[in-house]
Symmetry: C2
Subunit: 443 residues, 2 copies
Amino acid sequence: MEIIQPRLPKGMRDILPQQMVLRQHALRIVEETFAEFGFEPLVTPAVELSEILLGKYGGDSEKLIFFVQHPGGKEDLALRYDLSVPLSRVVAQYPELPKPFRRYQIAPVWRAERPQKGRYREFYQCDADIVGTASMLADAEIIALVYTILRRLGFQQFATLINNRKLLTGIGQYSGVPDARLPGLYRAIDKYERLGLKGVRKELRQEGLDATAVDRLCDLIWPADGRPASLESLRAELGHLPLAREGIDELQELLGYLPSLGVEASCYRFDLAMVRGLDYYTGPIYETVVEEPRIGSITGGGRFDGLVGRFSKQSYPATGTTIGIERILDILAERPTFSARETLVEVLVTVFSPDLVTDSLKLMSELRESGLRCELYYETDPLGTQIRYALKKGIPMLVILGPDELSAGQVAVRDLQAKSQTNVDRAAVAEYLSARLDQATDT
Amino acid sequence: MEIIQPRLPKGMRDILPQQMVLRQHALRIVEETFAEFGFEPLVTPAVELSEILLGKYGGDSEKLIFFVQHPGGKEDLALRYDLSVPLSRVVAQYPELPKPFRRYQIAPVWRAERPQKGRYREFYQCDADIVGTASMLADAEIIALVYTILRRLGFQQFATLINNRKLLTGIGQYSGVPDARLPGLYRAIDKYERLGLKGVRKELRQEGLDATAVDRLCDLIWPADGRPASLESLRAELGHLPLAREGIDELQELLGYLPSLGVEASCYRFDLAMVRGLDYYTGPIYETVVEEPRIGSITGGGRFDGLVGRFSKQSYPATGTTIGIERILDILAERPTFSARETLVEVLVTVFSPDLVTDSLKLMSELRESGLRCELYYETDPLGTQIRYALKKGIPMLVILGPDELSAGQVAVRDLQAKSQTNVDRAAVAEYLSARLDQATDT
């Protein structure tokens, strides 16, 4: 029979057990924090009807959608591109869901981006959203959620940048930019880090703004004195424009809640130049950047009050965030503390000789019952080979049940990290192993 | 803007938060037991190259594969159909993985089956497999794993039926069935429950067996005296055929290990008529049926020593099982004990009046820090409305922080199930809530 070369599609990857140690640790922190914040899990299918996805993200994004079909199938299907559009469909489809609807979803999404280091065509998103309230308390909770998760993951220097699409639209009005040109405006502002002020000015001209509009806009966002625009100064300049005023009011209310939610002052700030890429945001927007080491955004979100309305006459305000877990994991993997463990298996149960197999099986069943993660050595190899296997795989503890131990009612326990071996009474061995493993984790 | 009707592709579904309470509970038991048995997590992409999947499952199964493409993409892609073929690809692709390779994977697979009640085109499989050992200890561990998971899920009357493809092939040889006809033989035997002996005999004749072969075969599998064939009687009849003898030896060794692994005698038995559907099995096969209430199989697996060899010259023996979590959940959902909770949220934090919002926020942050799952009530509604919301959503506990409580350094705690309210000192409120919630779960 012909051998098929084992390989992956372009831009896809496997996540092997050794990489899963850190990944599972981080995802559990994310999921537990979601739950503490009152979010509940939702599962939607990977495959959606194409019409649900198309027309929501903006033209460039949509080119990246994967389509799905099966022989004889009559539906136009696609793999989900994010978790916000499926959420909006769900809210529209089940009007009976209690509001506010607070859901989290940790799941892969698919985008046919040009493959590059650290970027995959299937990647996981961790989303938490609140649908059915326009309260700024909801937006404040989302920012507190991000803060709590990043702190628990061990991040020190990071900041959530906060802005508001209403304020940005107001600035557009103030500068004479028609609403239809706003996406181009956002795109241009977004390039400041890369192109600098001069580059952004050029982009804005190319987006069709006249020189006066470009001047007014850039003077507001990047004032000549180098000090970032404050909400107070913006209120003085733009307060006469209803939409700008609404955006400023929302921001002040939102920022006012954060101290009571325990978010440290150094970890958030208003940033008029932060715009977010996607088309569907309508109010507050937020994006978290790690400041040391300096890397791009690791979470992003905002209010998307219009999205449910794309699927139902009954619209609902909504806000939420995506935690960019893949980039976060890349950062965590660089830390020495996390790379220590190679396996989640805690105990290797050796087999002394073929006639003692069933004794080892009984011992192993007991250890597992007490919650220890045990692997059995299957072959009838010398003990030295079995020990080398445990060392190679990084299993920290090993138990031996030979004729001497059996007759003494004991088990030999070898700690492969401390390189020590002790005989322990059979009845106490599970407790002994747990204690040593706890100790090893603490240090 | 045109409203798109919110709907799902044929045969797909959403799993809403209320359904997730039970689902998460069950999946955690499965995952924890996998880990205790020394299995480690593996993630593979949903999308594989088509050539990896095609030619592995048998013709009828392959018609159900979903294909994937993106505009401009040059690869033939497909959604995975099971988790065993991706595992085999992984083992061939990363020869450096330590053997035996024990991995679990809990993930959706896609099959374009005709939609029917309780059957979905995207459904989750829970697989545990051991690659790189031919030892019957591995097969015994898989059966013990299934036993432990089902017991922990609360199943009482179930049995894992155990057979061996080598023995079945030997029976084919004994009856004069050429190897190429074996898949047809399995298919015919598999229909006994539905068609009865007469029907199976007819099927076997249609598969090309002559009358003598059919007689010999049926007399072995369904003896005239109604007593199922024993391994001893089969050894007497078939012991001269090397493959049959090997199958019988394997079965006896495997069955011999199960008591030491704690598997109760009532929960497994040899069953010569259990054949399994898929083509790729090579040795022991197993399938668990629930006997009360009488429903079909809820787990299935076996040895597939040839599958890695489809992707590499270096082949590895392998064995494992799929836990049919969707069917298991259908059964668990019928039990009254599990349908009790409607939400995972434990505490609703009410807001007494707009000027006391920040006090409620501080209280909530403290409760969350101590691990309680809290939701905040966002709107400035009367307390009665807030309480009705908690009742409607099924949140068990509610806290109130009004001016009286604030000045007394207390919090009012309302237990919505016990219909009681108590004032608790602020410093003790998290502990008080946890204790009451634990109590409620126990009863």
